[in-house]
């Protein structure tokens, strides 16, 4: 049935509907394209890593000379810890042995743990691969690797602000947790006992199939000594 026949056989309002039906595919495509462009604009404005969204991809050199690419570890949980060896809040967790203990427990469950150094050259906490190796040995830490991010590109991509600032990434590559290591912002190691460790809580919950109650907290500690770009 062609359009003229349709026009002849249908009433006036139905004819109008039929006439407009012709434009439906065009309108749908236009709407879809608009939605896509809006979505892209929104994505572009989101620069930082967000909970429940894909963890930004990175490839960084490690203390051992190897390059670690996040997407290579798809299928496994990954913990990211922003690290500055000279920060008092980092010292609180490492001098007390707390961080090493957590790292050992977590990495023994086939979970990867990367400590990322985003301090710029000449600033507090900046280290070379050799220094990172020495720190790892001296502290007897059990992270998978210490990664070097001297330009701060990865740190800024994740919106990392403090040391320690923690992220937990799911095997699917989405961010499960973004925030502080625990709920006590004191730099006193005596406060570790009795504090609520969010990273272990989140991992224990998700590994046991229980709901994760905390996805985001405010990180505390020293500001990351990024390279300041004018």
């Amino acid at each position: 049935m062609n359009f003229i026949e349709m026009k002849r056989k249908t009433s006036f309002p139905s004819y109008l509907c039929v006439q407009y039906f012709r434009y439906i595919p065009v309108l749908t495509v236009t709407m879809m394209l608009t939605a896509c462009s809006l979505f892209k604009t929104q994505e572009a404005t989101r620069q930082k890593a967000q909970v429940h969204e894909s963890a930004p991809e990175f490839a960084l050199p490690g203390h051992d000379g190897n390059t670690y690419k996040l997407s290579d570890f798809r299928g496994k949980y990954v913990v990211l810890e922003w690290f500055n060896n000279d920060c008092p809040f980092v010292k609180k967790h490492y001098n007390s042995g707390n961080m090493q203990e957590i790292q050992k427990k977590i990495t023994s469950q086939d979970i990867l743990w990367f400590s990322i150094v985003s301090s710029a050259p000449g600033k507090q906490g900046h280290i070379s691969a050799e220094e990172a190796m020495a720190i790892k040995n001296q502290r007897q830490s059990a992270q998978t690797a210490i990664l070097l991010d001297p330009t701060g590109k990865v740190g800024k991509m994740y919106g990392a602000k403090a040391t320690p600032h923690m992220f937990v990434i799911t095997p699917k590559g989405t961010i499960l947790y973004n925030g502080a290591i625990d709920d006590n912002s004191s730099s006193n190691p005596k406060t570790i006992q009795g504090s609520r460790n969010y990273v272990t809580e989140v991992l224990n919950a998700t590994l046991s199939g229980a709901p994760v109650n905390v996805h985001h907290t405010k990180p505390y500690g020293c500001s990351i000594k990024y390279e300041v770009t004018p």
């Binding site: 249908t10 404005t45 507090q124 912002s185 300041v228």
Partner: protein, 307 residues
């Protein structure tokens, strides 16, 4: 040379013997407004923190990093301390971040009242274990145990620190103001504040745990005295914004303090009202289409039909 080394070693051993480790960039002291504590009145005691030039310590919301001072008090059970009173902080730029805190000197006041039945002692000893963080670019945590013993009596005189208490008291934000959250997007939240007298809005410092970024807000004055504030949201956060609290810092001659506490909420009925309207419109539309369809079927097609 040998003599110099001897005196250096002597000074270190002396300070160790005294149990004093003098902080390098900051110091803290416990001070009172009066030279005695009156059990019938509210008494103000204060933690005075001195900081070297370019060093800062933190407000209750420290900003992007840092930590506020943490006092742990010990005093007789019949005495009660009120909340720590935080003077209006300053925005401190630590590129690429912002901190909220204090430079040079800050006095954190706390009210002390007698809540017992009878005063049994004639003096009171206040002990404070204080932890605070001082930062320039790098941060140093400090710990101190401070003690002060004062007579308990109604006859009392102002201490030498009383003028400081007076000055700082005027810097503590007291005035509370309600505001409306007018727009929420994934990137920002817009507040509308009405009924305040001000010359210029300077800053908005969120209360702790507000899911807001700490960058400078955008201010614009709409009709009348209404002030519109656009605050950037913390990108990673999915926390609730309602109610949104913070300090609105104003340049004004109207207030003794230059900051007002703003508590903003979304209009309570607006979301549910909008949802109801949308539902009604949807039902009406479906109804209209159904009727339209029935009419089309029932009404004989005259005129347009071809025999």
């Amino acid at each position: 040379m040998k003599q110099g080394l001897f005196f250096f070693a002597l000074s270190i051993s002396f300070s160790l013997a005294q149990g004093v480790t003098k902080p390098i960039h900051t110091s803290a002291t416990l001070i009172t407004e009066y030279d005695a504590i009156d059990p019938t009145q509210e008494n103000f005691i204060g933690i005075r923190i001195h900081l070297e030039k370019n060093w800062h310590t933190y407000y209750l919301n420290p900003g992007d990093s840092g930590a506020p001072p943490k006092p742990k008090w010990q005093l007789p059970s019949e005495w009660t301390l009120g909340p720590l009173l935080w003077p209006t902080p300053k925005r401190i730029s630590v590129p690429p971040f912002f901190a909220f805190g204090y430079e040079k000197e800050v006095l954190l006041m706390v009210p002390l009242t007698f809540t017992g039945h009878t005063v049994r002692r004639n003096e009171i000893t206040i002990r404070l274990d204080l932890e605070w963080l001082a930062c320039k670019v790098e941060c140093i945590p400090y710990f101190a145990t401070l003690r002060k013993t004062l007579p308990i009596q109604s006859q009392r005189l102002k201490s030498k620190d009383a003028p400081l208490f007076e000055r700082v008291r005027s810097l503590i934000p007291k005035q509370k103001h309600k505001a409306l959250i007018t727009q929420v997007t994934p990137q920002a939240v817009t507040l509308k504040v009405t009924g305040i007298n001000y010359k210029q809005a300077l800053d908005f410092i969120p209360h702790p745990n507000m899911p807001l970024a700490h960058i400078l807000p955008e201010f614009s004055q709409s009709t009348g005295q209404a002030l519109q504030i656009v605050l950037k949201r913390y990108p990673a956060s999915a926390q609730r914004l309602n109610p949104l609290k913070g300090l609105l810092i104003l340049n004004s001659s109207q207030h003794s303090s230059n900051a007002v506490i703003v508590e903003a909420e979304s209009p309570k009925t607006s979301s549910s009202f909008a949802a109801k309207i949308a539902l009604c419109l949807g039902v009406l539309l479906i109804l209209f289409l159904t009727i339209f369809k029935i009419i089309l079927r029932k009404v004989p097609q005259k005129g347009n039909s071809i025999p």
